[in-house]
């Protein structure tokens, strides 16, 4: 198996797919990359349809990235005849886009350096004669001239002051952005200058580490895996808000923003949503309590599985956990439990009523978002239950282990669908009213209905239900893909 992520099967990168597994040369080329393969190739996708979530990326180690960055630095150094330290500043500020830098350089090399804050705006205090009794403006002591240094701006200070200053800035987490100590001077301290003035090896090391972090973060094609203590760096040559999965710590995240994957909601919207949820969580938590009463017999029910189609243990009434309505109205007809109905006369109401309506609207979406998140967590337990059930069945000679495998695949797919469904709610919350929203909510409702069907079936499947369940899986996944394809903006 080649080390390249093969998540994007059936898509345009067929040249990778053609590499056979026993191609040993292939192994060597990608040596050092993690295997990003994930176990979601659960069923054959029709080859003619492009998977909207397919994404091409590689997992790199620190050394690989260092090599990658050094190559860029060297290229720029030779083409513009700059020192590596200057090249680093320029690349860092231009998100490692060499062509922009070269373009600016041909236009006006001085302007490029001034804008990059490595040269002062005004003429530097050139050839300031450092007399024998130079007084450093920071410590105000007389310093021997060989200990006095400065940047391109001409501000001079003694080495012990520079060293203390750099240490202080490092302790505040700064590295690439450290400026000169002069009054109103914003000239940046280049890497060679900082390292020359830092005596302690551990401080030099700290600076290099921080700077490397800055470089990776500024590079559009690179992203650190957000997993705890994970050193993996993801590289995608086509940076997009797509799901990547770290091969080492298995963290799954959005390449563009680094937080959990959130299609069909985009990065800026999910950020807004998560901030809102964090701000309002107290109220929301209070209101969306963990239990509900059966709408028929009023027995208190705690949800213990992922499915929103509930059957009361006591009175056998089938109802929807979300709206507490009769489930019969959900299945066959139009499922609209996912749609928020706005009060049409709201514009005429008082500010107080509007605020209440706004809260109501938010809670509507939040409850559904949170409910799916909770269901997802419960789905883990469901998986354990399925495993025990399969074991029991196999022990009782009801089918073989292989016969029951489809149930695990179904549980996996259910997780995936529910995940997408969860992130449709922030999207819908911020979507402007109109035909696009109507279409979105229609597709969302369709997906939700199929997911709940699947969830219900997974929890109760017998060996004879295999065909039915696989059918349901196919329908749910198609609904999910349609929604993602139609609403994920590139």
């Amino acid at each position: 198996m080649s080390g390249i992520d093969m998540k994007s099967q059936g898509s345009d990168d067929s040249d990778y797919n053609n590499d056979t597994d026993d191609n040993m040369e292939d192994e060597d080329i990608y040596d050092g990359y993690y295997d990003a393969e994930i176990g979601d190739d659960e069923f054959e996708k029709p080859t003619e349809v492009k998977d909207p979530e397919a994404y091409d990326y590689r997992l790199l180690e620190v050394e690989d990235v260092e090599r990658l960055l050094n190559e860029k630095i060297e290229t720029l150094c030779t083409s513009l005849k700059l020192s590596p330290s200057l090249a680093k500043v320029l690349l860092y500020q231009h998100n490692w886009d060499t062509s922009t830098i070269q373009e600016k350089h041909t236009k006006d090399p001085n302007k490029l350096l001034i804008e990059a804050k490595v040269m002062p705006k005004t003429k530097p205090l050139r050839d300031m004669v450092i007399s024998r009794n130079f007084s450093c403006p920071v410590c105000m002591c007389l310093c021997p001239s060989e200990t006095v240094h400065g940047l391109a701006c001409g501000h001079r200070f003694c080495q012990p002051c520079w060293e203390q200053y750099f240490q202080m800035q490092l302790s505040q987490g700064l590295s690439s952005g450290i400026e000169c100590m002069g009054n109103e001077c914003h000239v940046l301290a280049t890497e060679d200058f900082v390292l020359d003035n830092l005596g302690k090896p551990e401080m030099r090391d700290k600076y290099s580490r921080f700077a490397f972090q800055d470089y990776v973060e500024s590079h559009l094609e690179l992203r650190f895996c957000p997993g705890p203590n994970c050193q993996v760096i993801v590289r995608a040559e086509n940076p997009k808000a797509k799901r990547v999965i770290c091969g080492k710590c298995k963290t799954s995240f959005c390449f563009k923003c680094g937080i959990e994957y959130h299609a069909p909601t985009d990065c800026s919207v999910i950020k807004k949503w998560l901030t809102k949820c964090a701000d309002d969580s107290e109220t929301a938590n209070y209101i969306s309590a963990h239990t509900k009463d059966c709408p028929k017999c009023h027995v208190c029910i705690e949800k213990n599985g992922g499915c929103n189609h509930l059957q009361c243990v006591k009175c056998k009434h089938d109802f929807c956990w979300m709206c507490l309505g009769d489930w019969k109205n959900h299945g066959s007809e139009y499922y609209e439990c996912s749609r928020y109905k706005e009060n049409p006369n709201i514009a005429n109401e008082s500010a107080h009523a509007q605020a209440r309506e706004a809260l109501k609207k938010y809670l509507f979406y939040f409850e559904r978002y949170e409910n799916h998140a909770k269901s997802l967590r419960l789905e883990e337990e469901t998986l354990d239950k399925i495993k025990t059930r399969i074991e029991e069945k196999v022990m009782n000679n009801t089918g073989t282990w292989i016969d029951w495998q489809y149930l695990l695949d179904a549980a996996d797919l259910l997780k995936k669908c529910r995940y997408t469904l969860q992130f449709t709610y922030p999207y819908a919350y911020y979507l402007e009213k109109g035909s696009r929203k109507t279409l979105f909510e229609y597709q969302q409702a369709q997906l939700e209905a199929e997911v709940e069907n699947l969830s219900w079936k997974v929890e109760r499947a017998e060996i004879t239900d295999r065909g039915d369940l696989e059918n349901q899986m196919d329908v749910a996944e198609k609904r999910r893909l349609t929604l993602v394809r139609d609403f994920v903006t590139e």
């Binding site: 403006p137 105000m140 200070f157």
Partner: protein, 200 residues
């Protein structure tokens, strides 16, 4: 306290004392204790401003990491100014925050504060109430600032009608400072100021 900080303050102290601004009574620094961690500053209100003729006392605290981090400065004298809190004396000035440079000194800080008194920045306010008045009711702002400078900082120009309104509330049993704050906040409308005090 770090060696460099003490050394710097000692030398700066000499610098300020020797400077021509001190000679002309514009700025002044005094030691509060022997450890050089705390100083008392003084600046004169700049001419052609409502603060003319007044003297403002400042608390200056020198952090351990001075001069790589800025000194902590606040007004001890109450002042009516958009960038200085009328309640706590906290100052909103860039060089006391992210624009601080190690080569800056107490002298530059005091001179910058004096310049701030002459040129307020109402779009970057510390005291939102004052800033609003500065922008929307500038004549009232000028009179209020002059009144505060007269009462708290030895400013020479009196605003008799404002004095009278404070006295009016004082005679009703209200604390004069609270009355002044409420009146200043409500553009010297006596009824609304009273309401403000009673509701607070």
């Amino acid at each position: 306290m770090a060696n460099i900080a003490v050394q710097r303050i000692k030398r700066e102290f000499k610098e300020v004392v020797k400077s021509e601004e001190v000679a002309e009574c514009h700025i002044q620094v005094e030691l509060v204790n022997d450890s050089f961690t705390e100083l008392k500053g003084q600046i004169a209100g700049p001419p052609d401003t409502p603060y003319e003729g007044a003297t403002f006392n400042l608390e200056i605290k020198i952090p351990e990491t001075y001069p790589f981090n800025p000194p902590k400065v606040k007004f001890l004298t109450a002042i009516w100014h958009p960038n200085i809190s009328s309640v706590t004396g906290a100052i909103c000035l860039d060089i006391l925050k992210d624009q601080w440079a190690a080569a800056m000194t107490l002298r530059t800080v005091l001179l910058s504060l004096q310049a701030l008194l002459a040129a307020a920045e109402p779009d970057d306010p510390q005291d939102a109430v004052v800033a609003k008045q500065y922008k929307e009711n500038h004549p009232i702002f000028l009179k209020t600032a002059r009144h505060w400078a007269n009462i708290y900082a030895g400013g020479t120009i009196r605003e008799d009608d404002y004095d009278n309104r404070v006295i009016q509330l004082k005679n009703m049993g209200f604390d004069p400072h609270k009355a002044r704050v409420a009146l200043s906040t409500h553009n010297w409308n006596v009824e609304r100021a009273m309401e403000h005090i009673l509701n607070y």
